[in-house]
Amino acid sequence: MKLSGSNTSIKRSGRIDIWDIIIRIMLVILSLTCLLPFVHVAAKSLSSDAFVMANNIFLWPKGFTIDAYRQILSDQSIIQSLYISVLITVLFTALGMIITVCAAYPLSRKQLKGRTMITIMFTVTLYLSGGIIPDYLLINNLGMLDTLWALILPGAFSAFNLLIMKSAITSTIPVSLEESARIDGANHFQILWHIVLPLSKPILATLSLFYAVGRWNGYQDALFYIRYNTELRPLQLKLYYLVVQASESFQTELTFVQTTNPEVLRAAVVVFATLPIICVYPFIQKYFVRGVMIGSVKE
């Protein structure tokens, strides 16, 4: 980002010394450590068995083949878990944003009586929580174990996102704009819909991404709440059983004459699960950085 661009030019007289080069080399090495593991796994997933078993794959595929991917895509349970992940991510993000906006807009209105009290009630949830077991017992009592609701409803309320949204509305939308809308006869719903939401698009994008990426990546609640109904496992949990614990085997169709080595299949499924994030990552990264900064300013 251009965070520090302004003062570095002043800080230095413009000539490049040996340390500039050393620092650049260090950064390049660090960047490579972040990039190469993915390159390696991708190379492995595209290689043929013999080279993988001989431990001969580094950063470039040998004996190029996409068999592993064809087998993964024929595994119904993986496709099913992908569908579940997409479904819960969409619903969770939508619900999370509705809750956030419904809380942030009223709390940003200074004339609202009880505003401080409700803000405190929300803020308290940042510091106090029941913990794993009380949460689990609640889900159990609500009859939501082994249903998708357990993965959508409990996390949709986030006091952190809500407070970020509230301070964003307070700081970006002038009170005078709202007042003039009221004089023109607009009610709160109209003001929210026609003025506040269109003006807060950047923060809406940022928070939606917070919700979506958090939901997509999380597996703890699925591990706790989806115990028996294996059809409802989201992709990350499925991946956990397939790759990390290796307690489940790939259910590929037997039409393949030669079954690919599980090692290659694992590499392929890791790439399969990583690809959606890597594809959108370059576009969403700036929104995340912005979100972190707004959050930190609040503190």
Partner: protein, 322 residues
């Protein structure tokens, strides 16, 4: 600056209160009923999913039986806690949790600051942006993927790093298979995953440093490192202090997902942390009372640590958190 802002806000809200408190609740609800209707949604979610579980803490003081239900289960006072403190698993979990989180705290604090200082020294825009994009990347991937990558890279028999070591004539290293190696791999993976992301807040703080300070330092003949040490670091110190206080709250807990995704059958010495034990006792074995008690223990220690750290920071003249 922060104080002034707070004071201003307090004054504003105080004057508003004077205006608003004259009118009755009836007046406000009639005027702003739409706002209250909107608030119903988040308030009910917060109530059901955040406040109701707080009452579930009482399970720690009962001999909870999931079939009998909450009300029919017997009260047992502090018996569950007494029993908890006597269990050998408990002491081991406390030791592991502290070991993993304290070393993680030390590393995950120093390394992002160091990295941010380096990035702050660079002024080529494209070079900087490409590097930052790559270094932030691991933060966006789930711990399951981290665990899978760790296995692919550090595995004993077929991991890429071990293959490289062997080709270069060394012996394979059991990165994930021996307890001590596992500990270091766990920490290294955590640093790798979080270091880039951790720099963002520091870079933001560094961009707020008054450029005149650097100019003055240059005039006084300070070199690059002196400027870092005497200008940049003192200026971002409040940020560092607040982040330390906040993360002290996690010293007794830590990420369940991280430990659970990186553990394996071969290394069990350090992988039983408090959240893992809560999961094992409560959800896997159905011993809800002990598991809840363990969770309460963790939360109380976490809260005490945060408050203590905040007090100490304030005594030392920092702004603090609360």
């Amino acid at each position: 600056m922060k104080l002034k802002e707070e004071l201003r806000q307090k004054n504003e809200s105080a004057s508003l209160k004077k205006e608003t408190s004259k009118k009755s609740w009836y007046f406000h609800i009639r005027r702003d009923w739409q706002l209250y209707v909107l608030l119903l949604i988040p308030v009910s979610f917060a109530f059901v999913f955040k406040y109701v579980p707080l009452t579930g803490i009482l399970v720690a003081f009962k001999d909870y039986n999931i079939i009998k239900g909450f009300w029919a289960s017997e009260w047992v006072g502090l018996d569950v806690f007494r029993d908890l403190f006597a269990r050998p698993d408990f002491l081991k979990a406390v030791r592991n949790t502290l070991l993993l989180n304290v070393s993680d705290l030390v590393l995950s604090f120093t390394i992002p600051i160091f990295l941010a200082l380096l990035i702050n020294e660079i002024n080529g825009n494209i070079f900087k942006r490409v590097n930052q994009t790559l270094i932030y990347l691991p933060h966006f991937l789930s711990w399951v993927i981290m665990g899978a990558l760790a296995y692919q890279l550090l595995g004993y028999g077929s991991g890429m790093v071990n293959n490289l070591i062997e080709q270069l004539g060394g012996n394979r290293i059991p990165f994930l298979q021996s307890d001590i190696h596992w500990l270091f791999s766990y920490l290294a993976i955590g640093v790798w995953q979080g270091m880039g992301w951790g720099t963002i807040i520091y870079l933001a703080a560094m961009s707020g440093v008054n450029p005149e300070l650097y100019e003055a330092a240059t005039v006084d003949g300070a070199n690059r490192w002196r400027k870092m040490w005497h200008v940049t670091i003192p200026c971002i110190r409040p940020t560092i202090v607040i982040l330390v206080i906040l993360s002290l709250g996690h010293v007794m807990g830590g990420s369940f997902e991280r430990v659970y995704a990186l553990q394996n059958m071969a290394t069990t010495e350090f992988t039983t942390t408090i959240p893992v034990l809560v999961f094992r006792w409560g959800i896997e074995n159905g011993d809800y009372s002990s598991a809840t008690a363990l969770g309460v223990f963790q939360a109380v220690i976490g809260l005490v640590l945060v408050v203590l750290a905040d007090q100490i920071a304030k005594k030392a003249g920092e702004d603090g958190l609360l």
